[in-house]
């Protein structure tokens, strides 16, 4: 068996705060001659990070801001040294922590391609060989001999990313750079990255964009407070991460009204929903809840509101609307709502449940459950619009 491409053994990084290390002479002089000294405080940005990656594996690193993800990437790209531990990288490394590093506004697009390329570690002959492709990918051929200071910010970013797209390393370290440019270019650059991933490169990928990271990576690491909190399949790691953040921020079950009516269980697709449930876009979604009607309420109307993260109601499921008269029987029962084809785009959603009897609210729970929609086969092509489009709608096209 061949050796892993990346081996990380016990990498830790300490920063000392409360002591300015770059500053002025007077500061150092006073420190030199005073015995009191400022209080120094050590901050461990990373503690004992261990993992291995084999050839062709794509690792996604996620975690909240300031958790140490970027520091890890900086250590692996040799920008800064670890305080202890070591890592072995087998292969040519390229790191992409920013697009357009070293771009100079006075230079033309053409000149910046060569300059930025050599900063990224490309050989001149490689740039010459790929020059036309780079320019075509960026779509700024018309302005290639214009100084980039006259470019729009979109053109600038497109050109900068295009140079990076033609790096040809065995190991690629990427930080948040896919979130640049307009929507169309973003999709294009994500596609490009996926191509690179398919070609057998080993990639480390840091991002906040969970959707992209999930679609690209097969292995994941969750870093919190400088430590690895979860590792394994990307999907599982993302679920760990979202359930953790949801637990702390979104207490489920905030019942505001309970009047002789209660819900004992709520399931989505026959699964108890306590934390977060994954549903694929376009899949059948069965929302069911067991109730006890101790107040013997008549003429029940069930209303499920589906809200997005910003608590904006997207749509409502109401048996009054559909004309499904539910003739209640006895003190307990199960109400089931079926959505044949989930029309939601990827993201997190919230369900609130209201039960009315003769137009009087007898039960209301504003946070009945949270679920997450992931990429799925809503359209038989498997394509999805970008995730700020809220809904997916069945439709078809013809030419006449």
């Amino acid at each position: 068996m061949s050796k892993p491409i990346i081996e990380v053994h016990g990498i830790s990084k300490k920063f000392t705060i409360g002591k300015s290390r770059s500053g002025d002479l007077r500061n150092s002089m006073t420190k030199l001659f005073s015995f009191s000294g400022q209080k120094k405080q050590d901050i461990w940005a990373l503690q004992d990070i261990n993992f291995q990656l084999n050839a062709g594996e794509i690792l996604g690193i996620i975690g909240p801001n300031g958790s140490g993800k970027s520091t890890l990437l900086k250590i692996l790209s040799r920008i800064t040294e670890p305080t202890s531990g070591h890592a072995i990288m087998r292969g040519k490394i390229s790191s992409l922590l920013e697009v357009g590093t070293g771009f100079h506004p006075e230079l033309s697009g053409r000149e910046n391609i060569f300059l930025n390329g050599s900063i990224l570690g490309l050989q001149r002959k490689d740039i010459v060989a790929n020059f036309d492709e780079i320019v075509d990918f960026s779509g700024v051929r018309k302005f290639i001999d214009t100084p980039v200071k006259h470019y729009s910010s979109g053109m600038y970013v497109r050109l900068a990313f295009s140079v990076a797209a033609y790096l040809n390393p065995e190991i690629l370290l990427v930080d948040e750079v896919l979130s640049v440019g307009d929507m169309a270019f973003r999709e294009k650059s994500i596609e490009k990255m996926k191509q690179v991933a398919k070609s057998g490169k080993t990639i480390l990928f840091v991002s906040h964009d969970l959707e992209t990271i999930e679609s690209m990576c097969n292995k994941g690491i969750l870093i919190q407070n400088g430590k690895i909190e979860s590792t394994g399949k990307m999907k599982t790691v993302i679920r760990d991460y979202t359930s953790k953040t949801n637990k702390s921020h979104n207490e489920i079950d905030s019942i505001s009204i309970k009047n002789g009516f209660d819900i004992s269980a709520f399931t989505i697709n026959e699964q108890e929903n306590k934390n977060q449930q994954l549903i694929q876009s376009g899949d059948k979604m069965v929302l069911a809840f067991n109730y006890t009607n101790s107040g013997n309420h008549k003429n029940l109307t069930f209303r499920l509101e589906i809200k997005n993260r910003q608590a904006f109601t997207l749509f409502v499921c109401n048996n009054f609307l559909t004309g499904n008269i539910l003739s209640e029987s006895g003190k307990t029962g199960e109400a089931i709502c079926t959505i044949d084809k989930t029309p939601l785009n990827t993201g997190n959603y919230l369900i609130s449940l209201t039960v009315l009897s003769n137009n009087v609210v007898v039960f209301q729970n504003n946070k009945t459950c949270i679920f997450e929609v992931t990429r799925g086969g809503f359209y038989s092509t498997g394509f999805m619009p970008s995730n700020e489009k809220l809904f997916l709608v069945d439709h078809h096209w013809t030419l006449k």
Binding site: D24, R78, P82, I88, K92, S95, E98, T101, H104, S118
Partner: protein
């Protein structure tokens, strides 16, 4: 397959720095080319500026030292005498002042990508070479015009030009690295360069200076280099023992600058 080991570096790791410098030589040229391009971008006179500044300075210095202070130029036309001194000094002061702020101005790059940091101050020595060549050509024109007597050792000017580049690189390394911790040097260095213009024998010569404190002048490596340059070109009097003082100082500046920079480059991205 290249294998990279990432760990905290201890010791001097001089060999690593040198082998990386060779590996990244293309970047060294690209950065130098960028600086050169930008310096004359959107200027009307372009490279002619490389002559105007040293020429005016040479005129001014020969006016001050030769006409006002009546320092001897030993039979050489004062303007030519001053210009020969300015060739080295102009290059030296350009590289040192550009090198001084080079790392600070490149801090975004330093924080975002890895490359041997030493490339940044070193690229300034290359970026200023076209200017040096232009001033040399102009000096040659002056020589052809005034027809002074040329020494048989004229080929040795190459040696002194080489020493000029070495001196500029050494101080560039020192000041750029010092700036990482002490931004004071941003203010100190321009001041030092202005002083250097007077304590370096550009418009005058150290030949007639009292030997009691002549050695003080030679603590400045540029003194030995410029006097040597004029010795090689015109065969003016030149005392080798004094020159060795300059060379020793230069040697320590170079070795010290290289080691100091090496030490500072380890965690440059964290403290810049």
């Amino acid at each position: 397959m290249p294998e990279t080991l990432i760990k905290r570096t201890r010791g001097l790791h001089i060999r690593k720095t040198i082998s990386e410098l060779i590996e990244y030589r293309e970047l060294l040229w690209m950065l130098a080319w960028r600086d050169f391009r930008i310096k004359y971008a959107q200027t009307f006179l372009g490279l002619i500026w490389a002559v105007i500044e040293p020429l005016l300075m040479a005129l001014l210095l020969s006016l001050v030292f030769n006409k006002v202070a009546s320092a001897s130029t030993y039979g050489i036309e004062p303007i030519l005498f001053g210009m020969v001194g300015m060739v080295s000094w102009n290059y030296f002061s350009n590289v040192v002042s550009e090198g001084n702020t080079s790392l600070i101005l490149a801090q975004n790059m330093i924080k975002k990508i890895y490359f041997p940091r030493i490339i940044i101050p070193l690229s300034k020595t290359i970026a200023a070479l076209p200017d040096l060549i232009v001033t040399l050509v102009f000096t040659l024109v002056l020589i052809l015009f005034y027809q002074p007597e040329i020494s048989a050792n004229a080929w040795m000017t190459i040696l002194f030009l080489g020493l000029t580049i070495l001196a500029a690189a050494s101080l560039g390394l020192w000041f750029s690295a010092l700036n990482i911790r002490f931004r004071d040097f941003k203010h100190i260095v321009p001041f030092l360069i202005r002083i250097g213009l007077f304590i370096t024998p550009i418009g005058y010569s150290t030949i007639s200076i009292d030997s009691a404190y002549k050695w003080l002048f030679y603590l400045n490596p540029m003194t030995g280099i410029i006097e040597g340059f004029r010795w090689a070109l015109f065969g003016l009097e030149f005392s080798w023992p004094y020159f060795y003082i300059s060379i020793s100082v230069l040697f320590f500046l170079f070795v010290g600058g290289f080691l100091f920079f090496n030490q500072m480059q380890k965690n440059m991205a964290d403290i810049i």
